[in-house]
Symmetry: C2
């Protein structure tokens, strides 16, 4: 009877570029893992560099420095085997790599074989693929190592590791970004690989926000029979420790001899009863992603706090609620900036929200500045009718006021446009679009409503004023304006946008779903036309399979109009 190892999955929050801080965190987790009697401890993909470091990878010094940090860790890593993601390089190129550290030394470096280059991923821009996947033997226990995308393909290294290399366990290092429902996809993939290979899988994911991405954690140890042996929480750091149950070691003579590691697997008393944290509900996981993404953007960039323009509407209300959960009420400032077109209700709703959340609140009416600007421009605009220009002026005066407060107080301005607005350009560049970060950038308006009700339900009271949720949405930039003067109802707009933006469907395919042809064409035209606005938009948190930003790279000059089918 072979001994089986105690595995520790270190689900840590790394910061891109902070090789020193990431290294210190890794060392502290190694120490904690050793204290808990773990034989093997696993860190996420590119834990030393953070993920994705993007063009930092083009700096030779950055790669050299991350290797120096790795070597320093290795020298201080005794009595435990550690698998750590980092950036490797040799004369041929740069690699997305995992170091196998044992006996105070880097014993092997695995190079990721399957490099994703779609969606938000650009790994072929930076990395050369590896082509070797040996296994390792620790006191007779055989395991293999691979990285993220490697495990997503049946033809990937999992098969070689188990068939040729005899691995009973595949250790898989990840930096897998969140979108709604992604974790179910991951579990399904792991179950497939377990089923095909008969090996257990130790899946370690990164956690934390990085620009537009959130890594949601949810590390798992799946047994060789497909049972979930241990599951870490989502959206927080964790050290998941579990003993691998006794399994039958493969007898067959292996076509590939494992690399022998030093050390003995310690005899254990009782098996550690590993936690199996339940998954989150659909709204809870999205809300948690928004909170973590916002917190990490603010903290990792070193901002003291945030400022939000509160219109009394639902987008700014939900943004403020997330900000308060991400930071602390004392670090969030709300500003209402009524104009001649603002209803009294709007200011009341904004004030009520600020009171409910316990945040600082200012009211700054924009009328004097609006009047000064329009008077100044009157001679130049003589003979022209009022139009959207005057609406934009109001939005930009507000942008000025908020940015001045941001500059003066050193707090970052949050912009509050939702995905539906961002898609069709229902927003003013340098006006309500001004700001360093947009929490709701990837949240369609219909989901903004659901999340707002979720916030109130969870807090057990009307945190977001009911009036903000139920009144007709309006930009209040001209008398009696509502969003539906210009746009279809959001429960029609949002599914059209999803089909077009996320699913790359053609107009004919969307019309075939039952939508009005003229409306579909109008929406598509608006999405295409407003690419120039999105190019200057603040970053925001990806929560859907296709977010605007690094996920969807459209040209601004773009004269594509679909050919009609009878025209082909």
């Amino acid at each position: 009877m072979n001994k089986t190892p105690r595995i520790a999955l270190a689900q840590i929050n790394c910061t891109v570029g902070d090789i020193v801080g990431n290294g210190e965190k890794i060392l502290s987790y190694i120490e904690r893992g050793r204290e808990k009697g773990a034989d093997i401890i696993v860190f996420p993909e590119m834990a030393i560099s953070g993920y994705p470091p993007e063009d930092l990878l083009l700096k030779a010094k950055f790669i050299k420095d991350n290797i120096a940090i790795l070597d320093n860790i290795a020298g201080r890593c005794q009595g435990i085997t550690a698998i750590i993601g980092f950036v490797d390089s040799d004369v041929k190129g740069v690699y997305n790599a995992a170091a196998v550290i044992n006996g105070g030394k880097v014993q092997w470096v695995y190079h990721k074989i399957i490099l994703p280059n779609y969606g938000v991923f650009d790994e072929k821009r930076y990395f050369r693929p590896g082509n070797i996947c040996p296994t390792f033997a620790l006191d007779g226990f055989i395991f293999g190592v691979n990285i993220c995308e490697d495990i997503w393909h049946a033809s990937g290294p999992a098969k070689l590791l188990t068939e040729d290399g005899g691995a009973s366990l595949i250790i898989n290092l990840n930096a897998s970004p969140f979108h709604a429902g992604k974790h179910l996809e991951r579990k399904k993939i792991l179950a497939e690989r377990v089923c095909e290979t008969g090996a257990a899988i130790a899946y370690t994911n990164l956690v934390g926000g990085q620009d537009e991405l959130v890594f949601d954690g949810g590390s798992m140890l799946m047994g060789s029979d497909g049972t979930m042996l241990a599951a870490a929480p989502h959206f927080e750091e964790a050290l998941l420790i579990a003993d691998l149950p006794q399994i039958e070691t493969k007898k067959a003579s292996l076509s590939q001899k494992p690399i022998a590691l030093d050390g003995k697997i310690r005899a254990k008393g009782d098996l550690i009863s590993a936690p199996r944290v339940a998954g989150l509900g659909p709204l809870e996981e999205i809300y948690s992603a928004l909170v973590m993404g916002s917190r990490d953007y603010v903290e990792k960039n070193g901002f003291e706090g945030v400022i939000i323009g509160l219109s009394g509407g639902i987008d700014s209300a939900l943004t403020a609620a997330v900000a308060v959960d991400a930071l602390d009420p004392s670090r969030v400032t709300g500003v209402a900036m009524p104009s001649r077109y603002s209803s009294k209700g709007s200011v009341d709703d904004a004030r009520a929200l600020a009171e409910n959340l316990g945040i600082k609140f200012h009211i700054i009416p924009i009328e004097p500045v609006y009047t000064a600007l329009t008077s100044l421009l009157a001679p130049v605009f003589e003979g022209y009718e009022e139009d959207v220009t005057e609406e934009n002026i109001q939005a930009r005066v507000r942008g000025n006021i908020l940015m001045a407060m941001s500059n003066k107080f050193g707090r970052m301005l949050l912009t509050t446009g939702n995905k539906s607005e961002v898609a069709v350009g229902y927003s003013t560049l340098y006006g309500d679009m001004a700001g360093g970060f947009n929490i709701l950038k990837d949240v369609p308006k219909t989901l903004v409503y659901e999340l707002s009700r979720f916030v109130n339900k969870r807090s057990g009271r009307e945190l977001i004023p009911e009036d903000s949720i139920t009144k007709p949405p309006s930009a209040e930039l001209r008398p009696d304006q509502t969003d539906q003067d210009s746009l279809p109802p959001y429960d029609i707009l949002d599914p059209i946008l999803q089909s077009y933006v996320e699913e790359h469907k053609s107009s004919d395919e969307i019309i075939a779903l039952g939508y009005e042809p003229e409306l579909v064409k109008k929406i598509i035209r608006l999405v295409d036309l407003n690419e120039y606005k999105r190019r200057q938009a603040a970053p925001g948190i990806k929560i859907t399979p296709t977010a605007f930003g690094r996920d969807r790279r459209m040209p601004i000059v773009n004269r594509y109009k679909e050919l009609r089918n009878d025209n082909g």
Copy 2:
């Protein structure tokens, strides 16, 4: 003695997405080529779709439509062999392809083998590489076809086409973006391939602007002995026609039989004396790129004209000069917006420039709006000192005024920041950074000076007022301010920026070039810190090997600080 073909290189300006318009242009050039007696006519890489179409390539309907356009062209293409770049697809994937059209049919489709995925290129995001490169025989004349990057590598298909396929001519389709000096690199590469293979090369490049890229044309026919047989102009459409001189046909039995095409090579009278357009000087080629890039961005996006804030300084002056050359004086509006800190000279210089260029000119003093804004904010800012906030307010009031004029008159606002400013963030977000396009985005300040003198020299008069060129550069946002209060002289700043931004050098490497260590570290810190501003910056024209934008993809959250060498 074999007949040799007359080759036409159609250096056309395609528009991304405009498959119908591009198709019509291709047909008109085919007609012109046939009229001139050409046997073979060659179009640029992805001429039907335009280049780069980016995520349009994820739309199945877009690919289907571009193939429909190709088939339509093929059916109307008689009496000439046409090689046309388009997007192909099959069950396995999508391809960057060249159709060989002959006898009214697509006879073969070549799939690009070497896919660039660095710098501005993301071809592995979209395309599967091809792996077959046959040759073609037209009336006994053997040629091969490949695409752009394919010709840049000695181990690429050029070798197979000539050694195995017996090609006397390699037809190479390109969408090769401009940067200063790029054309010399291309000629060097072609000469290497000719030298290795003994085949002539027909290099056809795209021309025109697409978002941040400019394709500079410069198509060439290089003879099998390395002589330049014909060279098209840069930065304009051209149909370059030349007869290939008599060459010895390879006798060796070929390991790969050429694909036979229909038709005879026509007997010619005198050989066409092909033009050999001289290359442009270093400043002339950059200036031409700025003009073409600006013109195409305005025209292809359908703007009626442009608006420029004229500070009296050199950046806005050069921007206006380029805009006038790109469009027409009647389509350019200049606006001076003096504040309490503006010198009288600044308004005079702006007015003189506008008069010299013959553009419409407004003076709109910002004082009343600035006063209204600062008064409104006074209670909120009570107890705080004046700081950069008040400077930014001025810049943002100007941004508001210009954007209001842009909205009212339907003219795009041009922003005027140069690369040195963009690099260190010496600019106000939503203020002087406001605008749809930034002509000088990739032009370092020292080059702004050179180009300004070039403009005056070329026009034979003081188009840009001498005072704008010689006075100390200043943002004029506080009393007696100059750029050098905050920044080193530009002739020190620019080479440091080039080392860091374009050459990815470390601080130690830059210091080793002889720069002050503290200064180098300060500049690097400024460049890193201001990534968030650049993320919201207007697009601009790439003229260097590494432009900000799609060329240099840095994270915003980025805590990398180089390890000191004694720390490794």
